[in-house]
């Protein structure tokens, strides 16, 4: 194990697989019929089943929170538990929280608009407003665990989760944090789903009971994954992977960028992040085979993670790790139909 690389030591998730610590049983999921809001005909998506957060994280009160904030605290708690980190032994002002999201707290944002529609802008709810901010989930993680280090929320067209992983690792490399909890996720609401539908982006599998694998296109998903990064070397740690170099770009030549990152060395595994894959394939994207030839084992993007769009890469990574690919060099690779890419080298243990 290279000791100078941040290592991934804990995973927690709240996804359509449920709230879980560590790896998950990565059986293929099918989308479910939406019942959270009224639909005139069948509409399907990958949804998180309601659960009682306090049964997983004792003492957690979620009544006033956006589901995304509640999931963030639950997933972060599960990831810390999985890592076996004792925060009491750490300088909490050097523990960072780095959160990636596409839409932020869209549920309570919708509720705030609802209150404005009902009572006028002069009659909105003061308790709801601060919980609409995109950084509310990350700040609730800090508040619950008394984490006083950097607390950052980012969005990034197609590659939010990858950029959060890379930037959290950067904080650690530059001595600005000793440990980082990286989170990425989004909730699915009626307004978001109907935007996809009106924009004609949805897969036929959203409208019938065909298996998701038999049709192309985008099936909306929701969930949140948290990962603990810490320096290598803690004796009790059971690391999943070490994070190496990485990069992302909004455009330019994907092949050249990824090849430069690889520096002539080819990975044993490609873990496809498939962000942007929701939309149709494009000449701008390039296949993993183009980059690394025939030898690498490729873990394709899965619909349940692709449906989370720009926040989906941590779920892609979790699903790939859950298939226990074995040890070796891996490349987490995301490409976008709009151009651009994100690539991160990993050493799997």
């Amino acid at each position: 194990m290279k000791t100078n690389l941040p290592v991934l030591t804990g995973i927690g998730s709240v996804t359509p697989y449920g709230p879980l610590a560590g790896l998950i049983s990565a059986e293929r999921l099918e989308p479910r019929a939406i019942t959270a809001w009224t639909t005139t005909e069948l509409r399907r998506a990958f949804l998180v089943e309601p659960f009682r957060a306090a049964s997983i994280v004792p003492g957690l009160k979620t009544r006033r929170l956006d589901r995304l904030s509640a999931w963030a605290v639950v997933a972060a708690s599960l990831a810390l538990r999985d890592a076996g980190v004792d925060l009491n032994l750490m300088d909490r002002s050097r523990v960072a929280v780095f959160f990636a999201t596409g839409f932020g707290c869209v549920e309570l944002t919708g509720a705030f608009y609802q209150s404005a529609a009902t009572y006028g802008w002069a009659g909105t709810d003061p308790i709801t407003f601060p919980e609409t901010l995109s950084n509310a989930p990350a700040s609730h993680v800090a508040l619950f665990h008394d984490l006083r280090g950097p607390n950052v929320t980012v969005g990034c067209k197609s590659f939010a989760a990858e950029s959060a992983l890379l930037q959290a690792a950067s904080l650690m490399r530059h001595g600005q944090a000793d440990l980082a909890i990286v989170l990425a996720g989004d909730t699915l609401t009626q307004a978001v789903y109907e935007w996809y539908e009106t924009a004609d982006l949805l897969s036929p599998a959203c409208f019938n009971n065909e298996p998701a694998s038999s049709v192309s296109g985008f099936i909306p998903s929701e969930g949140l994954v948290a990962m603990v990064l810490e320096p290598a070397g803690r004796l009790a740690a059971r690391p999943y992977a070490a994070l190496g170099a990485g990069r992302w770009a909004a455009g330019g030549d994907t092949r050249a960028g990824v090849r430069q990152l690889l520096g002539g060395g080819l990975p044993d595994f490609i873990l496809c992040a498939g962000n942007g894959a929701p939309c149709a394939p494009s000449p701008l994207t390039c296949s993993p085979r183009d980059l690394v030839g025939a030898d690498a084992t490729i873990f394709p993007a899965q619909p349940v993670a692709a449906g989370m769009g720009e926040a989906g890469a941590l779920l892609h990574l979790l699903l790939a790790l859950s298939q226990r690919p074995g040890s070796g060099q891996a490349l987490l690779l995301g490409t976008s139909a709009h151009g651009g890419y994100a690539a991160l080298r990993l050493e799997l243990f």
């Binding site: 003061p126 508040l143 280090g149 490399r173 909004a250």
Partner: protein, 400 residues
């Protein structure tokens, strides 16, 4: 001996403020003591308050595709790189880190909650597409044809300063050779209503750090700084406006909206930024404060300065420039960084307006009255926000 590959410098500043486009307009207005805050009533039915607005936006091709926050960001970024002659590969491969808290909320109205699908079919589809905060950064990239790493930041009112920190780290990582970093936020009923519901707004022009302060005013604007390594700036013979000598981020982990009363989290942040800048507390000649004008923020911030600058040989000069054009939310940190650099280069410390009865502190030198002219080799900009985030930036001058 400085390491030119690890030294982050500022080589461009673009500003859109209620004073107009450009740092020179902002500087002229502020040094003249001109306040842009004015009473308004038309922002939504029932609203009576004081805000600062940007008068006119630059015409833009396909303007419907962009939110008002996007357009302010595009204008500021264009201003920041206005001196780049013709096509530049450097610019094309640059990174972008743009902060916003409002983003496309400016384009969405409450009617969406009565039936989203219907609202989308009647013209809302394109408007709603501007909602994700990432759109602000992506819009700058589209309009300036920049293809490097792009990222948006949303850390409430500390967003703009956070963007500068992330950009500096990207440069240290060699993720890009230059990064355009800053923040942009437009006024909109959503945020006005939200802050009004919290009773955080002063209906008159705000009075930061005054004992009779009564809340904040909202403003709008954008600022974008061009950051690069000293090594890269020298190679392209760029004018160096300032050195970003140190930075730090912390979180209070105290309350969703209220700052930590004793200012401990912010003081730790300030101390870490000074440590990184490798300067003493006596060398910092000015702090551009967060200074919103709310009762809770300003007293907590004062306690933070008393802690962080304890032992200093003379009181630390502090002012809040939100007294000129309000709180621009996600843009505030980058606008205030631009003002801090402006103060250093002009050798002028700008006072807080309407500060007649300041919070009592023997360790803070509250700047008020006339601008104070003095050399300013090192200065600091401080930001804080809902969710407890704090950011401190230390800037220094550059001598070749």
């Amino acid at each position: 001996m400085i390491d030119a590959q690890k030294t982050i410098v500022v080589t461009g500043i673009g500003v859109v403020s209620p004073y107009g486009i450009g740092l020179s307009r902002l500087q002229a207005g502020m040094l003249a003591g001109q306040c842009c805050l004015s009473p308004v009533t038309e922002l939504y039915p029932g609203f009576q308050g004081t805000v600062a607005q940007v008068d006119a936006l630059t015409p833009l091709h396909d303007a419907d595709r962009y939110s008002r926050s996007d357009r302010l960001a595009i204008m500021a970024a264009s201003d920041a790189v206005a001196d780049f002659a013709g096509y530049s590969r450097d610019l094309r491969e640059s990174g972008i880190v743009m902060a916003s808290t409002v983003a496309g909320l400016t384009e969405i109205d409450p009617e969406i909650s009565r039936g989203a699908a219907e609202w989308y079919r009647h013209g809302g589809l394109l408007r709603a597409a501007t909602y994700p905060v990432s759109r602000v950064a992506a819009s700058v990239g589209e309009c300036l044809d920049i293809q490097g790493p792009s990222c948006a930041v949303s850390v409430a009112c500390a967003s703009g300063a956070t963007a500068l920190v992330l950009a500096a780290n990207m440069l240290l990582d060699e993720a890009a050779s230059m990064v355009l970093a800053g923040g942009s936020d437009a006024l909109c009923p959503f945020t006005l209503s939200g802050f009004n519901s919290l009773q955080a707004l002063d209906s008159e022009a705000c009075r930061p750090f005054d004992q009779n302060r009564n809340g904040l005013n909202l403003g709008e604007g954008a600022a974008v700084l061009v950051l690069e390594t000293l090594d890269h700036a020298r190679r392209r013979d760029a004018e160096i406006l300032a050195v970003l000598r140190g930075w730090a981020m912390t979180n209070d982990a105290y309350h969703p909206t209220a700052p930590q009363k004793d200012g401990l989290g912010l003081a730790t942040c300030i101390q870490r930024a000074i440590e990184m800048a490798e300067c003493s507390i006596d060398e910092v000649g000015y702090v551009n404060a967060h200074g919103t004008g709310t009762p809770l923020n300003d007293i907590a911030e004062t306690h933070a300065y008393e802690r962080a600058f304890h032992g200093r040989s003379r009181p630390i000069p502090v002012s809040s420039t939100k007294s000129y054009f309000g709180h621009c939310l996600g843009a505030a940190g980058s606008l205030e960084a631009a003002i801090t650099i402006m103060a250093m280069r002009a050798g002028v410390l700008v006072p807080t307006l309407r500060l007649t009865d300041p919070i009592e502190s023997s360790q803070v030198d509250w700047l008020r009255g006339e601008p104070r002219r003095q050399p300013l080799p090192v200065a600091m900009s401080v930001s804080a926000g809902f969710g407890g985030s704090n950011v401190a930036l230390v800037f220094g001058g550059y001598r070749a």
